[in-house]
């Protein structure tokens, strides 16, 4: 494995590590829950991405086979990470009902789905999904 590849791999690992560090540091530093929520998205995207690219290169350089598994991992990661972030936000909205007033109302007669007070809700959200997309 010539030194060029090694340098490249090392670079990717360092970049990945840096972003993961930033992510975890952000968890410590940022004040409110929602702002802290941003930190993990950083580490899941570039951080892990960097490491995966590094391992791909390493495999390619060492074993000569282009392994596509790493891209699969990134693909699956990009599909599932937003859902976790979305759920954490939903949970935050649901539990902190009396949150700060800065939350804008979407439109005069509608409200955010988790904040609908139970009485006004006629039928479940999922039914609405199906009608809309039929």
């Amino acid at each position: 494995m010539n030194s060029f590849f090694e340098a490249l791999i090392a670079l990717h690992i360092v970049v990945g590590a840096f972003f993961i560090f930033v992510g975890s540091f952000g968890l410590l530093k940022l004040p409110s829950f929602m702002s802290r929520l941003h930190a993990p998205s950083k580490s899941t995207t570039l951080g892990v991405g960097g490491c995966l690219v590094a391992s791909m290169l390493q495999l390619w350089a060492a074993a000569g086979t282009i392994s596509v598994h790493e891209t699969l991992i990134t693909f699956f990661l990009f599909m599932t990470a937003p859902v976790t972030a979305h759920f954490l936000a939903l949970a935050y909205l649901h539990t902190q009902r009396s949150i700060d007033e800065s939350l804008p109302k979407p439109s005069p007669n509608s409200n955010w789905s988790t904040l609908l007070n139970e009485e006004s809700m006629t039928h479940s959200n999922s039914v609405r999904i199906s009608e809309k997309s039929k």
Binding site: M79, P82, V83, L90, T114, L116, S126, I129
Partner: protein, 931 residues
């Protein structure tokens, strides 16, 4: 062959009378007696052979491993006892036919009687001492059945239990003794053992053999310390008392001592122990017999006394004493059986056995009076009767024996005992048959039917005949028996009525006189006796029994009062204590295997685990933290598996981790949320100490194990995994191929567990609990947006992808980390996501698979692959594989193992889904499910 038949005939024939009972009492009696007669005839065919002193033998291997073979032989001693058993058995059968009242189950009685007869014959005729013990225990059992025949009577049951406890206990000691004897003698066959006399007497085990065998004999023959069960056995019907507890069963002990005489006798210990016990029993029993009021109880104690006489004679160790003992065995059986039957007649006619309410029956029942007088005369030892002869011989022997240097001690004691025996015999006779005729008998006495008085009459006639012409009638049989017992020519002796004015004659006349005078002074003597406080053996027995029961109850109450905590605590304590003990004894030196270097990331993982354990133990009551920490530990252990080169394990661990988390969350939804503030009592500190101790010891054990090298056995698997199993992934090949059967068992376990879970949950939905379920609410506030759209869409997009990945893992399992389990778990997680994202009903409707069918199908497929190999002639679950070259695709490996793996896959998916789906379904049925 015929010898074994003698023993087996009564045993197998026992069913015959019970069946014939359907036709009537006579037929049943005839059936029983015919079996006995047949057996007797078979026995007598051997007399000619025995007289030529050739001992007929027969032997079959029964349990060769412990060299217990069914070997029988008939020698003189065996012949004598067998004749006695069958002869008296015949008479008792006839007697019982008329004695038992109509409503009593005669058929069952005869069946038990024949069972006992067979067992007793087995004891006297068996050549293998282990076989002898089998029959010995059988006699105890049959006596238990017979004593407790009248199951409604309380003291009958109690007497039976006591008899069994004592005789069977003795049997145990005897078994131990016989085993030792067999070891020392080198063989379990009596014919060999009897030749090894010197070797056994000189072997270090002689004393223990002697003690154990004697305990067996003394318990069976009711000798002094163990005599108390016989009087309580009198609760049995009289025929049983006449047969078992006078003539045959109680003689088994005497028989065994005679049988082993050439081997065990001849030492001072034998003399003192056996003769001593004999004398003491004779004296004490005779004294007690004088003061008993129940007829059968008098006879019981007199039997004990006479057994004492026989034990004493065997104990003397001289050959003439053995002859005297054999002769007395015959005589005692005859007159005692007659007396018992007579007592039965009295009880049958007058309705009572209490001697104080009897008297003057002679004029009312002349025939039974005559037989009673003659039999009692024989027991006392009056000249024309056979009793006199054996008494003379007994007294003769006593005068020669000197105990502990004091010549007169033994004769004195014997004299005293005979005085008492004369007294109680006369009392038995006079107080029932002579004296004033009373009018308050419960029933009108008159002579019984012929069937009742004939059997005792025969016996009495026999007694007179032996008395008058001893040599003609009993001479030859006695000589044969004593030769067999001594295993050598018995000394020259001549049975005759008159021996001249020998000291023995003087002693017996003197004894008779004193006895008569003692009887006349009966009333004052009786009052002294009543005031004397005597230890009641039965009381002691009951006392010890109750004490054991109380002790047992105390220990269980104190240790297990139903609290799970205490049980678990004791369990863990006991386990670790056991480990500690074993460890303390073995020496431990540090293993020399070189250790792996510590890798930093593993160190971080280790710190996390330790902290997680501590936090978990400390904050286990807040559910979120507890769950998190358990999962941290799980994930880190899977990372450790990866690091320690076990990829398969890591995959399974992570998948199981996820499914367990989902499961716990589902369960937590229902369990109460608020924690209980456990009062920090000393109990909690005790738990901490125990758990830390156990943890440390387990850790130390693990450390000790890992530092020592070991010779791994898995090299076999590594070599043969590719050639035999066809797969490079050794772990998977082991799982589905080498240990396929184990995996097959395992998937059934998963199936069963899932079924159990389904049953429990379904029981809640349909059972009485459904009401409480409906009223129950989780107390959580639900967000109106039950199915967030993002989650719904992503899970639906992911489903096909996840199943594809599962197929990938499944197919690569044989050569690379993967396999049925992991694939199944991936699919289950994908499916359960559907339930969580889009609701139970929506998802369940679309799954189209019935999970029960999945479990069953998976198991079936796995079984079929297994049976398939049987069809091909190989053992269950051997796998076959071959490489097929498809034109277009290239080399493909077809392995039967993948079918088995498919079975595993389906069962695990079915199992996991059944558990998780139903648990989530439960939520819909509760109060907050209806929102």
């Amino acid at each position: 062959m015929s010898i074994a038949l003698i023993v087996l005939l009564p045993l197998l024939g026992a069913v015959f009378p019970a069946l014939m009972m359907r036709l009537g009492k006579n037929e049943s009696a005839i059936a029983a007696s015919s079996v006995t007669i047949l057996s007797l005839v078979l026995l007598l065919t051997n007399i000619f052979a025995i007289s030529q002193s050739t001992v007929p033998q027969a032997s079959w291997p029964w349990v060769p491993q412990i060299d217990l073979n069914a070997s029988f032989f008939v020698d003189g001693l065996g012949l004598l006892f067998a004749v006695m058993i069958l002869g008296i058995g015949l008479l008792v059968t006839v007697y019982a036919r008329f004695y038992l009242s109509p409503q009593e189950a005669l058929g069952r009685f005869f069946a038990y009687l024949l069972l006992f007869q067979g067992a007793m014959l087995g004891v006297v005729l068996s050549n293998n001492i282990l076989l002898l013990i089998v029959f010995w225990e059988l006699t105890s059992l049959s006596s238990f059945l017979l004593i407790g025949f009248k199951s409604d009577s309380q003291e009958g049951r109690q007497g039976a239990r006591m008899a069994l406890a004592v005789t069977a206990g003795g049997g145990l000691a005897l078994l131990a003794g016989m085993l030792l004897l067999g070891q020392v003698a080198g063989s379990f066959e009596l014919t060999e053992i009897l030749k090894e006399g010197e070797k056994i007497r000189s072997s270090p085990y002689y004393l223990s053999i002697l003690a154990l065998v004697l305990i067996g004999c003394f318990t069976k023959s009711a000798q002094f310390p163990f005599h108390f069960w016989l009087p309580h056995a009198m609760a049995a019907p009289t025929p049983v008392s006449a047969y078992l507890h006078s003539a045959t069963m109680v003689k088994a002990g005497i028989f065994l001592m005679l049988r082993l005489w050439p081997v065990l006798a001849g030492t001072q210990t034998w003399f003192y122990v056996v003769a001593g016990t004999g004398v003491i029993t004779m004296l004490i029993a005779a004294v007690i017999a004088l003061f008993r009021d129940d007829l059968k109880s008098i006879l019981a104690y007199s039997t004990i006394s006479h057994l004492g006489i026989m034990t004493m004679l065997v104990g003397f160790g001289s050959e003439m004493a053995v002859v005297a003992c054999v002769f007395h065995v015959i005589n005692h059986a005859i007159f005692k059986a007659a007396l018992f039957m007579n007592a039965g007649i009295v009880d049958h006619e007058t309705g009572t056995r209490d001697i104080s309410r009897l008297g003057g029956l002679a004029s009312l029942m002349p025939i039974s009076a005559i037989t009673a007088t003659l039999a009692a005369a024989s027991m006392v030892g009056v000249p024309p009767m056979n009793g006199f002869l054996s008494k003379e011989m007994m007294l003769e022997e006593v005068t020669h024996a000197t105990a502990i240097g004091v010549a007169w001690l033994l004769p004195g004691l014997v004299m005293l005992a005979s005085v008492f025996s004369v007294a109680y015999s006369l009392r038995f006779l006079l107080y029932t048959y002579f004296g004033p005729v009373r009018n308050d008998y419960p029933a009108k006495p008159h002579d019984p039917s012929r069937g009742l008085w004939l059997p005792p009459a025969c016996l009495v006639v026999l007694a007179i005949l032996i008395g008058l012409f001893p040599e003609a009638w009993a001479g030859s049989i006695t000589r044969l028996a004593s030769d067999a017992a001594l295993q050598s020519k018995s000394p020259k002796f001549h049975l005759s009525l008159w021996h001249g004015w020998t000291p023995a004659l003087m002693m017996s006349i003197f004894a008779f006189g004193c006895g008569a005078t003692a009887l006349s002074l009966y009333v004052p003597v009786r009052s002294i006796w009543n005031k004397a406080l005597l230890p009641d053996a039965k009381g002691l027995y009951d006392l010890s029994l109750n004490a054991c029961v109380r002790l047992a109850r105390i220990t269980t109450d104190r240790s297990f009062n139903g609290s799970l905590h205490r049980m678990l605590f004791l369990f863990v304590l006991a386990a670790s204590a056991l480990g500690g003990v074993v460890f303390a004894r073995s020496s431990y030196e540090r293993g020399e295997r070189e250790l792996l270097p510590i890798n930093t990331s593993m160190f971080v993982g280790w710190v996390l685990v330790i902290v997680a354990c501590f936090v978990l133990a400390w904050k286990h009551q807040s559910r979120l933290i507890a769950l998190l920490t358990v999962n941290i530990v799980g994930l880190i252990s899977s990372i450790a598996f990866i690091y320690l080169s076990a990829p398969d394990l890591a995959l399974t661990q992570i998948a199981v981790e996820v499914v367990t988390l989902i499961l716990m969350l589902l369960a937590l939804h229902f369990l109460p949320k608020e924690a209980i503030n456990e009062v920090i009592s000393w109990r909690q500190y005790r738990d901490i100490v125990l758990s830390v101790a156990v943890g440390a010891s387990v850790g130390f054990l693990c450390w000790a194990m890992m530092t020592h090298d070991f010779q791994s056995i898995s090299s076999y698997y590594i070599q043969h995994s590719k050639p035999l199993g066809g797969g490079a992934n050794v772990v998977n090949v082991i799982l589905v191929d080498f240990r396929g059967f184990d995996t097959f068992g395992e998937i059934t376990v998963i199936g069963i567990a899932a079924m159990a879970i389904y049953a429990m949950l379904d029981g809640m939905l349909t059972g009485p609990l459904s009401a409480t379920l409906l009223k129950w609410t989780s107390g959580l506030r639900f967000s109106p947006n039950r199915h967030p759209m993002m989650m719904v869409v992503v899970t639906r997009v992911m489903l096909p992808l996840a199943i594809l990945v599962a197929c990938y893992i499944f197919l690569r399992g044989h050569n690379l980390p993967g396999g049925g389990f992991i694939a199944a778990l991936v699919v289950s997680i994908a499916l359960i996501m559907q339930y969580m994202a889009s609701g139970f009903a929506w998802a369940d409707e679309r799954v189209h698979f019935d999970y029960h069918a999945l479990i069953g199908g998976g198991g079936l497929i796995a079984a079929i692959t297994g049976i398939g190999s049987i069809v091909l002639g190989k053992p269950f679950l051997t796998s076959g594989f071959k490489y097929v070259d498809f034109p277009f695709i290239g080399k493909v490996e077809l392995a039967s193992v993948s079918a088995f793996d498919l079975g595993v896959f389906l069962t695990v998916v079915g199992g996991v889904m059944l558990a998780l789906a139903n648990l989530s379904n439960l939520g819909r049925m509760t109060g907050d499910g209806k929102q």
